[in-house]
């Protein structure tokens, strides 16, 4: 799981770090009290033994999955930390209503952009950002999709800076991944610490595949009573292949590759030993550009010729819809709070990280004068590439980056350094605080649904704020307490 699971995660702090378990006076927060008690009764050796057991379990699961991917031995497992990240019920309530609100507005925005563009005409969203966005898909203009849902599966990256202070770092609206880790982490934790689950009322997450299947079936083309759903994967060389296989298996649907499908008279079929079988909903884990060589990149071997035409004819539903990327780049991100006000008439529950747009001369000037305290990112970049982390950069790096900004200011945004919260984590020296973020998965069908929690990523190196798996990041089980 590489590119897709990478978030930014590089918001750097100069302020005191919010420790999710301990107050600054050394007292344990209420929702961690039972766990802290358990931890105090457990020797470091016992904890270490549990961690080893967890690693073994993951290795075994990993082997089952690893064979899908690389050759023998080459597969790298993402480190798993056995200390759970605990979120109290009231905080989750805020998060889940904030996420529901946000994803509703984003879906309304995508619909609007491909129809009337009312938000542009109202002068709220700049027209240039629609046409110039490479993720904007002309082909989607005027196309109606079932239940007006475009982004059926969203992975929204969230960081915490203080008590009740959550920020959305980015919205992943194309093919977000990582949900299989959320489920696997829970399975391993329940196996290792049954006594902790007896003491805590941890909200379950393992019904995610059921909710996903229900969501996918709800957005089938009109008139289909018993829709057939498939998962479309680029194949076993894709870094997230095991997640594709995992979800297909858990939902009990076929895992297909492009050549397994064909289109005839605008209907999609899969090739089976019992003849062609009609497909109604495609949960596709293939990027827009590769979906259909007739509509997008002609050199794509991963797609299905004619798929987009069948989609346009309303004979099949693609999840997520084509062109959702128009709503998740960093320049659009800035407008999400405005979208919430515009489409829903509500005030945003979750905040954005304050963001400077360098295409505006005054903001650009400010950023250039304060490079050493800001994080600067490319508008269309992702995965932490092409980014300048001011406080960590050398003078030369800052100078070089300055030149890049001046050449194309509209290509950049900047954000202040935030203090990313930390969570107790089992490391070599024992249990110590490490920085975390959170990716909940938001499902939109007939209604918006979330399973409580999400994927917590943790920066395992001391002081590091980079939670990306490619840079030493790990995962934790996320416990939403059910009070």
């Amino acid at each position: 799981m590489k590119a897709e699971m990478q978030g930014e995660g590089s918001v750097v702090s100069s302020k005191p770090i919010f420790n999710e378990m301990m107050r600054s006076d050394g007292d344990v927060r209420d929702h961690y009290r039972q766990y802290a008690h358990w931890l105090s009764q457990t020797t470091p050796d016992q904890v270490r033994a549990k961690q080893q057991q967890a690693d073994t379990l993951f290795h075994r699961v990993g082997i089952t999955f690893a064979v899908y991917g690389e050759d023998s031995g080459g597969e790298r497992l993402i480190p798993f930390d056995i200390v759970p990240r605990i979120i109290p019920a009231h905080e989750w309530k805020t998060l889940s209503s904030g996420l529901t609100q946000r994803v509703k507005a984003l879906n309304a925005f995508i619909k609007d952009i491909y129809h009337e563009q009312a938000i542009v005409r109202a002068g709220i969203f700049p027209p240039g950002q629609v046409v110039d966005n490479p993720q904007f898909k002309q082909e989607m203009l005027g196309l109606n999709v079932p239940r007006d849902v475009y982004c059926h599966i969203a992975g929204v990256d969230i960081v915490r800076a203080g008590e009740g202070e959550f920020y959305v770092l980015e919205d992943n609206l194309r093919v977000p991944s990582g949900v299989s880790y959320m489920i696997e982490d829970r399975i391993v934790m329940m196996r290792l610490f049954p006594e902790l689950f007896a003491q805590h009322r941890v909200a379950p997450v393992d019904h995610y595949p059921d909710v996903l299947l229900e969501t996918l079936r709800e957005v089938a083309p009109a008139g289909v009573d018993d829709p057939t759903v498939v998962v479309l994967t680029p194949g076993r060389y894709n870094s997230a292949y095991f997640e594709h296989a995992f979800l297909a298996m858990q939902m009990g649907v076929e895992l297909v590759e492009g050549p397994d499908l064909f289109v005839s008279n605008d209907a999609v079929y899969m090739r089976t030993t019992q003849g062609p079988r009609r497909v109604d909903v495609v949960y596709r884990r293939v990027d827009d550009d590769f979906l259909d060589p007739q509509a997008f990149r002609p050199d794509s071997m991963l797609g299905v010729p004619g798929l987009f035409s069948a989609y346009r004819a309303g004979r099949v539903t693609l999840c997520n819809a084509v062109g959702t990327g128009v709503a998740d780049d960093k320049a659009t991100y800035i407008y999400v709070p405005d979208m919430i006000r515009f489409y829903l008439g509500e005030e945003p529950i979750l905040s954005n990280v304050p963001t400077y747009q360098l295409r505006k001369p005054d903001e650009c000037a400010y950023v250039l004068a304060h490079l050493e305290e800001l994080v600067v990112k490319e508008v269309h970049g992702s995965g932490g590439y092409g980014m300048l982390v001011g406080p960590c950069a050398t003078r030369t790096q800052r100078e070089e980056y300055k030149a890049k900004i001046l050449a194309m200011p509209h290509n950049f945004i900047a954000q202040p350094t935030l203090s990313l919260s930390s969570c107790p984590t089992f490391v070599e020296q024992g249990v110590a605080p490490r920085h975390v973020d959170l990716r909940p998965f938001v499902l939109s069908g007939r209604e918006v649904r979330l399973v409580p929690g999400g994927l917590t990523r943790v920066a395992l190196r001391e002081g590091s704020l980079v939670v990306n798996s490619s840079q030493g990041g790990g995962t934790k089980d996320t416990w939403v307490l059910d009070n």
Binding site: Y68, R236, A245, P259, S264, R271, T273
Partner: protein, 313 residues
């Protein structure tokens, strides 16, 4: 099930079975080469496996002389030869890997272990261990894989396609092995029925694990007609054409979606079920086997058309 998955499972099994039968063909040549025939050219017995597998020309384009070492290298270990034992095992393992979710963990581990071993196999090692031991190793790995498959897999469609691959390939290979005598002619007519003839038929029976079965079934000296009867018509002989077609017919019925494969398999089966060995000899065994082989090849094509290359609604 998805055509792609069924296709991979079918070829996984065919390739494993082919690796086993190639070892059996090499085994015959090895046994026959030990017989002092005198009038044969040196190492002429090694032509047989090359001719049976249709690789005579390819072999000589690559190797200057026909020697035991060269033939074992070419049919056993040559990665450039797509039907060498090495390539068959590699292909079986690749197919298994691509449909990892459709086979059991034990099957995968077994396939992978076989692959890791053949990958490190060298001619020197085969010579050191003795070629017979190498052939036995290949056969036992194939037996093991089949056993693991039967012992661990759910009896679903995936299982049926694996079994289909096994028996189609075995039918083809047994027919080819039986045809070996056509390729290794006796020096002169007077030798027919003599010691050399006896020894060659014996080697052939042993190579398909049928020597003891012959003794039990007929209790008489080895005669070509009896060998043909055993390996073509007897349905209680597990590698006979009749036994293979019994399986193929049952499997195709179980898979369903009937069409040309079922008809063709029925036709082949009926010929074996009601056939008489006198008629086979009247027609000429080589001719009979050639016709059978081309029909099995057609059956394979029809299976591909019906189940693996679904085109339109």
């Amino acid at each position: 099930m998805l055509s792609r998955i069924a296709d991979s499972l079918y070829w996984m099994a065919r390739n494993m079975e082919r690796a086993e039968n190639t070892a059996r063909m090499l085994d015959i040549a090895h046994r026959m080469a030990m017989l002092p025939t005198g009038l044969l050219e040196p190492a002429q017995e090694w032509d047989a496996p090359l001719l049976i597998t249709g690789q005579y020309t390819t072999f000589f384009s690559k190797y200057p002389v026909r020697t035991e070492d060269n033939v074992i290298q070419f049919l056993g270990l040559d990665p450039d030869n797509p039907s060498s034992i090495y390539s068959c095992i590699e292909a079986a393992r690749e197919s298994g890997r691509s449909v990892r979710g459709a086979i059991t963990a034990e099957m995968w581990e077994d396939l992978n272990a076989t692959w890791l071993e053949i990958r490190d196999m060298r001619l020197e090692r085969i010579k050191h261990m003795g070629p017979r031991d190498f052939f036995e190793w290949v056969k036992s790995r194939s037996h093991l894989f089949r056993g693991v498959t039967v012992g661990t897999m759910l009896r679903d469609e995936a299982f049926q396609f694996i079994r289909l691959g096994t028996f189609i390939e075995r039918a083809d290979n047994t027919a080819r092995i039986l045809d070996v005598k056509y390729h290794i002619l006796l020096p002169n007519v007077a030798d027919v029925g003599g010691a050399a003839d006896y020894y060659q038929w014996g080697a052939l029976l042993r190579s398909v694990s049928a020597f003891q079965a012959y003794r039990k079934a007929f209790r008489e000296q080895i005669k070509p007609q009896r060998v043909a009867e055993l390996l073509i018509l007897r349905e209680d002989m597990p590698r006979s054409l009749h036994a293979c077609m019994n399986e193929v017919q049952d499997i195709l019925t179980a898979i369903g979606n009937p069409g040309e494969p079922q008809r063709l398999a029925g036709e082949l089966h009926a010929g074996l079920h009601y056939g008489r060995v006198e008629d086979i000899f009247a027609q000429g065994m080589h001719e009979y086997l050639s016709t059978f082989l081309s029909k099995v090849a057609r059956l394979g094509d029809e299976i591909t058309r019906q189940y693996f290359s679904v085109q339109y609604a």
